[in-house]
Amino acid sequence: MRVSRRDFLGATGALAVTGSLGAVSAFAQGKDILLGSVLDNSGNLDIYGKPMVMATTLAVEELNAAGGLLGRKIKAIQYDTQSDIALYTKFAQQLARTDKVDVVHGGITSASREAIRQTFKRANTLYFYNVLYEGGVCDRNCVVTGTTPAQAVEPIVDYAMKKWGNKVVVLAADYNYGQITAKWLQYYIKERKGTVASTDFFPLDVADFGSTIAKIQQANPNFVVAALVGGAHMAFFRQWAASGMNKKIPLTSTTFGVGNEHLALSPAEGDGIVIAGNYSQEAQSPANLEFLARWKKRFGDTKIVHEIAVSQYQGIYAWAAAVKKAGSLEREAMLKAVESGISIEGPAGTVTIDPKTHHAALDIHLMEVKNQKLTIINTVKQRPPADTAQYCDLIKNPNDNKQYEVKI
């Protein structure tokens, strides 16, 4: 018998592989569970996306190292959407129709989420959106583990109005996130008998805020709320500080810090900005310290870890908890498990999925930027997504498929 080199290599290779897999042979029982993701790993938004992709890798590797789910191994299929909204639709179709994944964790901007959410709904592919957003998505196929305005905007308004007064100027990014968040801001400010002196919207490429800063001074508010998004809008914080306004009118933001913006500004420029959110790297909880240690071991640099990377990580663990509870990946069983009030302990605290809204109750920190760090002022445990809960009840109306906005 003539043994070709290829046969020989093939046979020994197979031996080597089976040998090395001997320890985890439990995986052999079924095909892999497929976890899809669509995230911007390059381009304009990669400051948000890259750490999310890493968090996905980390979570899947950890779950596999702990024996996988249902005795099966999880395989991550991650597509890079390159900060291009057209690629979201393309890769969403691919995940749902070609790869036939069991779950998708992805989407960053609200525009990208709305571009792909209906695709997954039609294909009955369970979808997790793990980013802070403007709230209101009511869709049984979709689970949200990021914060909503009731969680991360209301605490800012509450704190700032008590501390500084009730006249407010709102600046927001000009797309669905900024528009709807501005409405919630107005709602929370009015609820506390405050006034919104003015609301201005900025397209994402606006980088000159000279006239805006002059107009803010003319309105002379007690404080300013900035719901600005992306690299160009960073210029606002810089120009605000350059004109010396950071010493005169307090500044708060619903988005600052999410993309680690506090590291891009000097301490003199960033100090004093008040924000709220689910995560601060400074949190000294054992869960966070261990998470950062694991991240460091896997990727090295922990400086890039931000709130939505942690949200993505927690979202995957929440999904894993649902899979364990359901005991199957079958759709109805999964939805029932999601609606059973599953709860996990993540790096940023407890994440409890609310059955009615498919949103999450989260621990929320009120924070202040100090010396390029997000210093925690106070923490509210398990703050519910009360905004979305005003409108959305998926137990009563399982067929609801709408994004609700607050009426003012």
């Binding site: 390059s42 381009g43 304009n44 990669d46 400051i47 000009d174 201005d200 919207f201 900025f202 397209p203 490429d205 606006v206 980088a207 000159d208 000279g210 006239s211 805006t212 800063i213 002059a214 107009k215 001074q217 003319q218 690299g231 160009a232 960073m234 210029a235 810089r238 120009q239 500080a241 350059a242 004109s243 010396g244 306004m245 005169k248 993309g259 680690n260 913006e261 891009a264 500004l265 000097s266 420029e269």
Partner: protein, 289 residues
């Protein structure tokens, strides 16, 4: 009263901003009829050069005023030698080539500096104007732009170099018959244009911050200003249109918001080009520089 002063200063700043980012393009397009779609990236490169120097511990003023124009000028020289010189007179090909170049430059800068926004510290603190707090750096930009345009005018009007450049611009054939190689003139002009763009980028970096893709934000405004200004007179045309657009877009921005400011500016450009297809300078300023 204070507010009026604030508005006027912001208008002056906007005029300076447009004039500053347009200067390099005005030289290249006005003198050579080369449409350089990588103009915005030259500006961006100036900013990143300043950032790199500042990180290396070099004095910020020296970085932005001297090193940034020299580095970007050299990049311009290389680009002219490798790409542009083969494409003179082929407008569409030049556009395609420079567009490709702009993508290349964005890619290279992303590889070196990453794609997240970075920051050059603002070297001048804010100051008090009546009840208002103003950015001191804006005043510096206004001053620098005035100095730059006076300098450009002096060079074009009174130096041998300026005379040759104007001659080559009016009629390349005559200049060449008098012993000046138009190709050399073009090379020098393109290099100077690139250096001016780098200068603008360096000076603006502390105010706008830097992203590899931020060149795109400059190119629309500068093209509108240069084309509307017309190629008949590089300096006065560009200045006139900068004053016009800066004033109007800033007044509209104050009255409503930056979105409407941009829309009005674009609408005005369309109307002006319909009425004056050769630009403002082609219509009114034919005998100036």
């Amino acid at each position: 009263m204070d507010y009026a002063a604030v508005v006027i200063l912001e208008i002056l700043y906007m005029i300076s901003f447009i004039a500053l980012v347009s200067a390099g393009l005005a030289v290249v397009f006005g003198m050579m009829r080369v449409i350089n779609l990588a103009h915005g990236e030259f500006v961006m490169l100036g900013g990143y050069t300043t950032l790199a120097c500042q990180r290396a511990g070099i004095d910020l003023w020296f970085s932005m005023l001297v090193i940034a124009p020299i580095v970007v000028g050299l990049v311009g020289l290389i680009v002219e030698r490798l790409v542009i010189r083969f494409l003179y007179g082929r407008m569409i090909d030049t556009m395609l080539a420079t567009w490709g170049l702009s993508l290349l430059l964005i890619g290279i800068v992303t590889l070196i500096f990453g794609s997240s926004a970075v920051n050059v510290p603002t070297p001048i603190p804010g100051y008090q104007l009546g009840a208002y707090q103003m950015g001191g750096y804006n005043l510096f930009i206004i001053g620098v732009t005035i100095a730059l345009y006076i300098g450009m005018w002096l060079v074009l009007r009174y130096t041998r170099l300026g005379l040759i450049a104007r001659g080559a611009m009016q009629s390349a054939d005559v200049a060449s018959s008098l012993g000046y190689n138009p190709r050399t003139v073009y090379m020098v002009t393109f290099t100077i244009g690139a250096a001016l763009s780098g200068f603008a980028g360096g000076v603006l970096a502390p105010l706008t911050g830097l992203l590899p893709a931020s060149g795109g934000g400059y190119i629309a405004q500068s093209f509108i200003a240069v084309i509307t200004g017309g190629s008949g007179a590089v300096i006065s045309g560009t200045l006139t249109s900068s004053v016009l657009f800066g004033t109007i877009s800033q007044i509209v921005s104050f009255a409503s918001g930056p979105v409407l400011g941009d829309i009005v500016m674009l609408a005005l450009a369309i109307v002006l080009l319909r009425l004056m297809p050769t630009g403002i300078s082609g219509r009114f300023l034919r005998n100036s520089q």
